[in-house]
Amino acid sequence: MPADQLNALTKSEPEAAPARQPALGILGGLRWMWRQLTSMRTALILLFLMALGSVPGSVFPQRGASPLRVGQYLQDHTTIGPWLDRLSMFDVYASSWFAAIYLLLMVSLAGCILPRCLHYARNLRSVPPATPRNLARMPEHRSFYTTAIESDVVDAAIASLRRARFRLRPAAASSDTGVSDVGSSVAAEKGYVHEFGNLVFHLSILLLLVGVAWGSWFGYRGTVIIVEGEGFANTLTQYDDFVPGRGFSTGLLAPFSFTMDAFDAKFLEDGPNRGQPDQYTADVTYRERPGAELQAERIEVNKPLGVNGAKVFLLGHGYAPAFTVRDGEGIVVFSGAVPALPQDPAFTSETVVKVPDAQPEQLGFNVTATPTAPDKVDPATGPKSIFPEANDPRVYLGAWTGDLGLDSGVPQNVYQLDSSDMEQLGRKDLGVGETWTLPDGRGSITFDGLGEFANMQVAYDPGRWLALIATVAAMVGISLSLLVRRRRLWVRATADVDGRTLVEVAGLAQTEWAALAQEVDAVVGELPGAPAAVEVRG
């Protein structure tokens, strides 16, 4: 294959230049480094590093996604854990070494692609190079004899190539250079869109990174548990968990609010997957900003609520048993629903109720709630729900009295009772509406019903539109680049001594391309006197 020709087609691929190295001092060294960094080989190696560097993030638990599992891992692996932590193995995608890889890749990409863009722009109106002397060396080559005269053949070739929207080398250009000194010929080129697509693709990758960075810098994400009937206003204090971007300020919190009027979880009632979740819906009413009109919306899994630039998602749900607690003096000291953590697919759920205001002493309750109570409780496992829907709710209570330990200053888990300074009063299970009168005049607890809570996530990502536009552009670019090949076609007609005309048609594509042969054949087919089949030499 004619290497010089191919190079002409694929040129400006900035390969690391072969050592042309009269010592040029610091400047020369820097230039050498830059050329290395922007070479294709470096791009290859950086791509591999990028792939390799992403892997540990799937092997080790990540703080961003599951901080609890990271804590667990560190507890279980006391020797290697801290070392892994020092290597940022639990924050891979926020680590400095990962950033180093992708920033190098992006610098390399910019250094490689921007000069190519300039080159492309400069050559937008370039003229295909003249027909080379020896067409037989081209990867696709056909030849035949015809009785048609030279100029008729070339005219037919020009017409055919024009129709196929090739860019042609003007006749004047050929005679200027005098390269094409035998016969008359036409040189054509097509497929500049290949390079265009390639450039669009790589530039879009840069743009995508900008979009991602923008979003993670100025965005935020927070989760909140909302019990049926309760509301949420978008302020920091309302979140259970909040992860701001580095450029976050409270001014970025859109001032919306909503109330979750109803939550409904449906489960398959029968079939092999009985009890599998079927659909969750949360009906909310919301205001874009204080004083704005009240609007109703239904949030489902995969169907978030978009409000004021932020999105509200339904991540999960659970049950929230509602209680009324009276103390020894008959005063209502607690009333409301407490979210309970699901323990199994049938939503056996656990929580605690803490009543610090009760007299004569504080009260605490361990609660196991079953949306559909079992007929009989297995003493070994404790009460277990038999179906996830609230068909026959029941709560199993353990009551404690004494000091809840809330004033000790140590932060407490809201789902656990610290019973070290408490004394157990007894156990009891209640159906909806039933009341348990505690012994020794400590008061009473009523199970008012089983409400539901939803686990909502609020996310704000101002860069996501940019990221989407960039990826769409990248997809268009890469498709153009891979579908279209830049290729050159030549047709030459040379008068023979005995009055016939030798016709040669040749083609060269930038990268091997199956359709080149067809394209060459198509041109051959439109020339005067073309035989049905011609020899092919590769």
């Binding site: 691929e13 294709m40 080989r41 290859l44 791509l47 591999f48 990028m50 792939a51 992403s54 892997v55 993030g57 799937s58 092997v59 638990p61 990540q62 996604a65 599992r69 891979v92 037989a136 030849s143 035949f144 004899y145 009785t147 991602v212 994400r221 398959l268 079939g271 092999p272 997957n273 599998q276 979740p277 079927d278 659909q279 489902e300 899994v301 995969n302 169907k303 978030p304 998602f313 991540l315 996530q457 990502d461 996501r464 990221a467 990826t471 769409v472 890469i478 891979l482 990268t511 091997e512 067809q518 054949d521 006197g529 035989p531 049905a532 089949a533 011609v534 020899e535 092919v536 030499r537």
Partner: protein
């Protein structure tokens, strides 16, 4: 018919596919055994122009080596076993498509909602693509043995390990983006697989060529290599398939991101499945770069393609088995 009957029919079709593919594998193995370098001899002959096969005298050439010739040589009979293999594989493809359709009727949705369904659909897709390419790309026939072997293994894993009863989807999977995302992923991964399998064969063929040139060919790998098409043919198949699959895989990942944005509130969260889809994408990007870089074409590029396939298989099987993530269709 009831949904149970449809599900039962689908299972029966999967088993039939396995049986027919086993026979196809035997036929291709027989083809490999009796073919004695015949294909290489064919490949060495001048290629036919797509203008037509009929011999023409044209205007009779004599000058300057510009002659007008070429007739289609009759197909050598040693390829009889290969033809049997192709017929059986075509039948298997039809059976696999039937298995997908009946499963879809049974569950009343597109049947790629869990690993089992995804695998069966990917097998059907791969077989159909392979059969459909044969008329225009005869060199694909030599991939037959690996394509059949690989799909047989996939079906085995599907039936023995991944099998899931026909059922409804969990809420997280009820999104039309799922169908867009998964459909693109199935097609892209099927094509990637074919391309990477061609790269596996390439390594054998290229090794044989290198060693035959040095006069040292002679071991088992050379025996296989000698029966394969010329390495540049295989290289071309690999490049064409991978450059077709790459934008599609890119699209599948992007569609997944759009879906994740609706489902989980972020379009990218480095969930293990996402990590490995990304790793696969980057490795195949490296493959395309390697093809454009002098010194990396050929063997090294083929190895990258095989690494890409390994990463893909891991993102498919490994992630669901080893890691905890949000992608909840792990089967059981």
């Amino acid at each position: 018919m009831s949904s149970e009957t449809w599900a039962y029919t689908s299972n029966a079709l999967v088993y039939s596919t396995i049986i027919v593919l086993s026979f196809a594998l035997l036929a291709f193995a027989a083809d490999l055994a009796v073919g004695t370098g015949q294909k290489r001899a064919d490949a060495a002959k001048p290629r036919r122009s797509s203008l037509g096969r009929q011999a023409t005298s044209g205007s009779g050439g004599n000058a300057g080596g510009a002659t007008v010739t070429v007739a289609a040589p009759p197909l050598p009979d040693v390829q009889r076993w290969a033809r049997v293999g192709v017929s059986l594989t075509t039948l298997a493809a039809a059976l696999a498509v039937g298995a997908v359709i009946t499963r879809g009727i049974s569950v009343e949705r597109p049947p790629w909602g869990n690993m089992y369904e995804f695998t069966v659909t990917a097998v059907a897709t791969m077989l159909v693509i392979w059969v459909a390419m044969l008329p225009t790309r005869p060199e694909w026939r030599d991939l037959g043995i690996l394509v059949v072997l690989f799909n047989l293994l996939l079906l085995g894993v599907a039936v023995l390990v991944l099998y899931t009863e026909a059922a409804q989807l969990v809420p997280a999977l009820k999104s039309y983006w799922l169908w867009i995302h998964v459909t693109a992923a199935i097609i892209a991964s099927s094509v990637f697989t074919v391309g990477s399998l061609a790269s596996v064969l390439y390594l054998f063929s290229e090794r044989y060529e290198r060693r035959a040139a040095a006069g040292s060919a002679g071991d088992v790998r050379d025996w296989i290599g000698a029966r394969l098409p010329a390495s540049d043919q295989l290289d071309k198949v690999a490049y064409q398939t991978i450059s077709f699959a790459f934008p599609l895989w890119f699209f599948a990942v992007v569609a997944g991101a759009v879906w994740a944005e609706d489902a989980w509130g972020r379009y990218w969260g480095w969930d293990p499945k996402e990590v490995w889809a990304f790793v696969t994408l980057v490795i195949y990007a490296a493959y395309l770069h390697a093809r454009a870089t002098a010194g990396w074409r050929g063997r090294r590029a083929a190895i990258i393609a095989i690494v890409g396939l390994t990463a893909f298989l891991f993102s498919y099987f490994g992630v669901n088995i080893f890691f905890v993530g949000l992608h909840s269709y792990g089967g059981t």
